[in-house]
Symmetry: C2
Subunit: 137 residues, 2 copies
DNA sequence: ATAAATGCAAATGCTTTGCATTGCC
DNA sequence: GGCAATGCAAAGCATTTGCATTTAT
């Protein structure tokens, strides 16, 4: 997924390409799993009068189009990421960094999730917590 | 894990066994992955003057002792459960029910989480989202 | 031109905190 | 009796909402 894909999808939906929205999308590519607050902080450097509401509205819109994902694990505040292909996360409790991990095992995992067909799984997430390579002394 | 184990552990820690705390522990066993609000609602039937603060304080205490777990996935409000052996969850988006799933695959999953030893994994969670058997038409 | 998006501020909802009172050990 | 825990209310945060103004199309 790249910026053009997202911009095109927004056009298809008849949504307006405001500079604020474009900037938020760019920041989602630049920053690693940012919170809304983090995005807002970066935003006001270019758009001093930007509002948190715009950040939240845009993130919600991207989520609803399936272009971004909200990560609710751990912190009080959500982290966001561009909806790339399936992957998992490692959350470092020391530095707070979130690392993407390759998702292999998807199939056997889904077999458990669906209870061998009884449940319908729309999505799933795997989150690890601990210390990353740098922070483990 | 049973009630006695928890009560004994609290005694060991020199914590007071107030009737409110005991009741909250019992409710965690009775209810399925309740929220703090759900526990509070059940509590005031026996303790009409109980406060939400007590519920939150007790849940925090149980969490810190490793006796309960907080599930932050999905909803705005956290769900809680007694810290039983490793298992995963299926969250139904229709009825809101959370189902426990057996956690097999732990070892290969942890191999991914630790990045083959580079990271130190303290805990992890697997959450599935979709429709449970009853809610899928 | 016009309807959608922004910015601002107020509101909401969950959770935490401060503090006087209560009650477990 | 002493100190931790409770209940109550207020405060804190993240997020949402209402509405007048701005702006992309």
């Amino acid at each position: 997924m790249n910026k053009d894909t997202i911009v095109n999808r927004m056009k298809e939906e008849g949504l307006r390409l405001t500079p604020q929205r474009v900037q938020i999308v760019e920041l989602l590519f630049e920053l690693s799993h940012p919170t809304a607050e983090r995005i807002y902080a970066a935003m006001i450097e270019k758009f001093p009068y930007a509002s948190q509401a715009t950040v939240y509205n845009t993130l919600k819109m991207l989520k609803e189009l399936g272009l971004a994902r909200e990560l609710s694990a751990g912190d009080k505040s959500s982290h966001y990421e561009i909806a790339e292909s399936e992957h998992w996360h490692f959350n470092c409790r020391a530095c707070g960094e979130i690392f993407d991990l390759e998702a292999n095992l998807s199939e056997p995992l889904l077999a458990v999730g669906t209870q061998r067909g009884a449940f319908q799984v729309d999505s799933y997430q795997v989150e690890f917590y601990g210390l990353c390579a740098k922070c483990r002394v």
